[in-house]
Symmetry: C2
Subunit: 422 residues, 2 copies
């Protein structure tokens, strides 16, 4: 703590202060260590955490600035602001009719023939103007924030043309400047081969490599490059070629891997030093072993399996037991998982992935920070880190998965400012 | 419409006005008929609905009172206020540690031995004073309201002694007077045999029959009598005896039936003319046939199966196809289903029970009204009925199950008054 800085915001008398102080990221049994302080207190100066410890020690450690905001969190739980490391939030049209068709047993082909599927989101994205996209996306950011999230990773991938991919990334970058939430932009031109290149996929791959990646990096529009590596989408060889190009151009990597079948995406992500590999419902034992040896974070998306009425969920327990760094995310998108709520994902992580409340909280804080390469900056409540804090209206952190489908957020502090107060 | 009455609240330009006008309750294909009016409007006078129809016709049909509240619901969905026909909301302590033990694979016995299970809620209820119970329950009512619910059925059943059962019912009746939500009280003294009568269950049944039911009816504390009919709890013969006594004393009936195995609870409910039979996960074909021939409503609780990581859900499609009146509920309780959100139940009804959005909305409006014997009063937006109305921030009603785990309520009108405005 620097003696010069004065506290501009204090949270005192916190029933359970979950600091996540300690190893970052966490694996195995470490995922159960929340760095919990009972009757805790936090002092914030500007955008930064000044002091974290016992509530009664705040006054001895931090001098209060004039007009300092003081929050009494008696009987409440405080966590780092949650981080959602995998979202597709830039779209206009929702796809609820398709959801209902699936419930009624319609096949993927029947849905596609009725104009549904990812192609409908591509048409939507291309047809929708920048201002409308920005407004629709902003509503989603507000909803993320209201559920205790303070940072999201946000992907392109519904444009699938140079112009439309850039438009989507520009929406993300613009909202990162104007909205209180932090957005981390990811280029996902390799989300699918667009209709106009179905008969010449090589040509589309060349556009990604020769036009899109250079334009994205030149304009500094993305931090990550992601790809949908899957049978029928991009093969392992194509994925390697595209992602190596992205890496050489200075982008960090992410993968949609082993979502529908085991194709070796997890192994490839580990091999290329990818920051994360996501989905992993069908990851092989070799894939788990490769990821456990690497620093690549496994971002699990149980909401997607849930929302698609899937039978098989990612093998989370095996991954945790074998030492893979596990994070969780909503996968917020208009097709397979329309939700901005990490709390419902935590309930699903408990019920379907058999993760404890502590493991799930680790997976949306410090391990999610690792999945977006922000360790040491966010995801932990530690002196000097960014003051992103969520205050929960619950007496015990285990209530988070248990009290399902409702919003238990009391207040959200983003960069030291009170952003939500319910 | 009475010419004398002036509109005190108007909702105009409603994108999709879901009136539920028509048959009440609804079975089979009728459950898909929402009585939907595009660009609809509603006029309310005091606590009552004055006009329902096309938005442009409001002015010709209703004279506006001075200071009339006008809500523009352009691009939104409006439904009857939702009705939750099966809740256990009166408790103090949540049981999240038990939830986590289940996730970790602990057995029912291990949980019971560690002090968990329904017995812990009985201890809690007996030890907690009236004011605390009222305050804790009030918080839950506020949460129900925030998720678009305007009426709940509320059970006793954690007291299991004359004094404590009455205390619980008094909390419900007191909150029904002071809270804007309507509560419909149900006596559930036969929720379980309390510890002190484990070796003499006949004695406890006699207390229910000779002391509790008379005290409940004498003080007019409940409208319904419910019982947990299940192997190891109350047998069919015991259930028949207790419920016949309750019926003779003037109480309407409900049953917890066929939740854990097929014990013939559905059949017994139909035979005794019960208003509803609830759970029904293991209802037999004979039970479905008996219920289809009766007016007994099947109240399905998919959140309970979900929250217990159950593999088998109630056979909703079969029930609907065979003509059973189907309603949905949260089963809000501290053990097996801690949630006040009917929207997440609607998502589960879609994903697990394969009910469409229209069927699920029918199940929490007009059919839920049948489950609490309120047909013609609530659950439909029809002239002369109570003005309980929920306005949803969505363009199409099918978004309700699809956009899961978040709160899409914009405003709630209860008895003609704006109770929630997000």
């Amino acid at each position: 703590m620097t003696k010069m800085k004065k506290a501009t915001l204090i949270i005192k008398n916190i029933g359970q202060l979950i600091t996540m102080a300690g190893p970052a990221p966490r694996t195995g049994a470490q995922m159960s260590d929340l760095g919990l302080i009972e009757n805790g207190g936090i002092a914030v100066s500007g955008e930064e955490i000044l002091f974290v410890g016992e509530s009664e020690k705040i006054e001895g450690q931090a001098e209060l600035a004039e007009g300092c905001t003081v929050i009494d969190a008696k009987g409440m739980v405080v966590t780092p602001g949650f981080i959602d490391p995998h979202t597709h939030p830039v779209f206009s049209k929702t796809r609820e009719k398709e959801f209902e068709m699936r419930i009624q047993g319609k096949t993927y082909m029947e849905i596609a023939e009725s104009g549904g599927g990812i192609r409908s989101s591509v048409r939507d994205l291309r047809e929708t103007d920048f201002a409308t996209l920005k407004e629709k996306t902003k509503e989603r950011l507000d909803r993320f924030l209201s559920y205790g999230v303070t940072t999201i990773e946000a992907k392109s991938g519904y444009g699938l043309s140079l112009e439309s991919e850039l438009k989507q990334l520009e929406v993300i970058n613009e909202l990162n400047k104007t909205h209180i939430l932090d957005l981390i932009p990811t280029f996902l031109g390799a989300h699918e081969v667009p209709d106009e290149y179905r008969s010449d996929r090589e040509a589309y791959i060349n556009i990604i490599i020769n036009e899109m990646i250079p334009a994205v990096t030149k304009n500094n529009l993305a931090e990550f490059s992601d790809i949908f590596t899957e049978e029928g989408v991009f093969t392992i060889a194509e994925s390697k070629k595209i992602q190596q190009t992205a890496k050489d151009a200075g982008l960090k990597l992410k993968f949609h891997a082993d979502e529908l079948q085991s194709t070796g995406g997890g192994e490839l992500a580990a091999e290329l030093g990818s920051v994360s590999a996501d989905h992993l419902v069908y990851i092989s034992d070799d894939g788990i072993e490769a990821m456990a040896k690497s620093k690549t974070v496994a971002v699990l998306l149980p909401g997607t399996t849930f929302s698609l009425s899937g039978k098989q969920y990612a093998p989370a327990r095996k991954m945790i037991d074998e030492g893979v760094i596990v994070a969780l995310s909503t996968d917020c998108n208009p097709g397979s998982s329309c939700s901005e709520s990490l709390p419902i994902i935590i309930s699903l992580a408990a019920l379907q992935l058999k993760m404890t409340a502590a493991e799930a909280i680790t997976a949306v804080t410090v391990n999610a920070a690792a999945a977006v390469d922000r360790i040491g900056k966010i995801g932990q409540l530690v002196e000097g880190m960014q003051a992103d804090i969520t205050i929960w209206d619950m007496g015990d952190y285990r209530e988070l998965p248990y009290h399902y489908g409702v919003n238990l957020v009391s207040q959200v502090v983003k960069k030291g400012k009170l952003a939500i107060s319910n």
